[in-house]
């Protein structure tokens, strides 16, 4: 097609914008991104969105089935539990604890981990080598196990559980970033930069930073899902959030007693976790592919 423009203006997008353009082509990933956005809003404004507040109990409506059952009613969309608490409200409030807490923890771990990783990666000698090797060995212990160990030292509780997961995720970020930086440093374009007499900061800003997003994205996706699964697993084991907080895993461990009476109290919180993790994985994978192709 002939261009109406006299001056053929070639638009060159920045890699980031280009990646975003590629991402938009992926319908599934876009849907997942929207869902993720909605969930973030849900987590942020949970107390205002939830139809009932945390302590609310309706003793006249115990173990109400969800509204799509014949005996269900629309007031309690997902039904109620054995104390007459609305399950929908509990799940919305739980989104803040499980999803919100997971994302927050992973992001904090990303921030600190990346910082330490970059510093470690840019430095040389014994410092870097020790860091590298200790991390290497420590990483063979999975994060949940580290979290269990930390919680067992500090005692159960939601904040302890977040702290434990943060500490458990930290080494993974440090190592991932460290590796990426280190690998990058071996490349010729960095050598060129060095020969140009660039400062550490310049090397980092122009030589390394543009080339590590892929690592960061896949690592962050993995960390967010791991954090959410770990928070709910600790809650389920009774080591994380305690009642009345309706963290999804805590809700599940509570409803073990209701398997026979009210199966929906088991299926719904579990579905919420599954759905959340699935969404994050789809978004993460979409982003990773977009960035990879955006780089080319």
């Amino acid at each position: 097609m002939a261009s109406t423009n006299i001056f053929s203006e070639e638009k060159i997008r920045s890699p980031l914008a280009h990646s975003w353009y590629i991402y938009q082509q992926n319908a599934l990933a876009m849907v997942a991104l929207w869902v993720l956005g909605l969930m973030t809003l849900l987590a942020l404004f949970a107390p205002w969105i939830a139809p009932y507040n945390l302590g609310y109990q309706d003793v006249t409506n115990l173990l109400q089935p969800p509204s799509w059952y014949e005996a269900g009613q629309i007031d309690f969309f997902f039904g109620t539990d054995d104390l007459g608490r609305d399950i929908l409200s509990q799940m919305i409030l739980g989104a803040q604890l499980t999803f919100g807490g997971g994302v927050l923890t992973a992001l904090l771990a990303l921030l600190f981990g990346a910082l330490i990783g970059v510093i470690g990666g840019m430095s040389h000698g014994i410092k870097a080598s020790v860091l590298h090797h200790i991390l290497d060995t420590f990483l063979s212990i999975p994060s949940l196990l580290i979290a269990i160990i930390i919680v067992s030292v500090m005692g159960p509780g939601y904040i302890h559980c977040l702290l434990a997961i943060f500490l458990a995720l930290l080494p993974q970020f440090i190592r991932a970033v460290y590796r990426a930086v280190n690998d990058e440093l071996q490349k010729e374009h960095i050598v060129a930069l060095k020969l140009d007499g660039a400062t550490h900061y310049r090397i980092f800003r122009y030589g390394i930073l543009p080339n590590i997003p892929e690592t960061l994205i896949s690592q962050t996706t993995r960390a967010v899902t791991a954090a959410i699964l770990d928070i709910s697993a600790l809650g389920f084991l009774g080591l994380g959030a305690q009642r009345p907080y309706s963290e999804w895993g805590t809700m599940l461990s509570d409803t073990m007693e209701l398997v026979f009476l009210a199966p929906w109290t088991v299926t719904l919180p579990g579905l919420a976790i599954l759905f959340t993790i699935l969404t994050i994985n789809v978004v993460g994978e979409g982003m990773r592919q977009a960035v990879l192709r955006g780089m080319d």
Partner: protein
Amino acid sequence: MLVYLIRRLNLLVITLFLLSIVAFFLQRQVDTSFINSSHVFADYQRYLIAILSGDLGISTISGEPVLDEILRIFPATLELCLISVFIALLVGIPLGIFAGLSHGGRSDYGIMTVTLLGISVPTFWLAMLLIMFFSLHLEWFPVSGRLSLLYQIPHVTGFQLVDILISTQPYKSEALFDAIRHLTLPALVLATVPATEVIRQVRYSIGEEMNKNYIKAAQAKGLSTFQIIRRHGLRNALPPVIPNLGLQFGSILTTAMITETVFSWPGIGPWMISSIAAGDHSSIQGGLLFIATFVLLVSVMTDLLHLILDPLKRKELYGKHEHL
């Protein structure tokens, strides 16, 4: 090679040393025998000598030596892990090949969707769902334990299946059958994550291999797809799978601890959880040291195994070494 080996072992020692310090302070919180002496260093030395001689302390709940308890229950966990790794390979390899061959096709898409579900599902919830459906609804499988209590199998190795096979009871086959029924659900739950890992890896490497020229040559020779996979594809695609599962051992073990809790499997998981709940610090620190050491050893061993088996990795290592 030797340098690498020494360095790896050296690091193992350093990490274990760090771990022992953590465990030491945990122990110090409760152990009254430490209170009188003021020298942390001397205390630690004493502690280190004790754990090196296999003395992990006495459980404050049961009054038994912690190491004895762990050694008695750990085989149950290990048995579950090994069997689920076996299931993961059994299911993962064929599905992985299948997905790899139909790369981008419908069955590939289907298998990868299932895989995505597999890594996204919380283990404990999957366990509960399976119990609800297979045990409580269909009444096919038992919900807990390793063996019906009516069978009396002497504890020899701690591995139930082995113990049954070497026992002299007249109802051996009956008991074996019962043990397998007990194993099925927990092993399936535990196999989910490693199976997805195997599928992804086999799919990837089959996909890579099938595009190589020697495969094309083989195709040109008129070999069937099955023959090609058997003769060439698998030979190159499989070797990385097993060491990778070894590296995953830590997460398999943690998942096992959760699975065990749901299925009341008498392994290290419920034991740890009840120790934490009861505030039994001796057991917690003992369990911590034991599990961590075990995981580290497995990871180092698989690393070495990988090194010995895979010449490419060895070369890579040397290459890297020169580079540094």
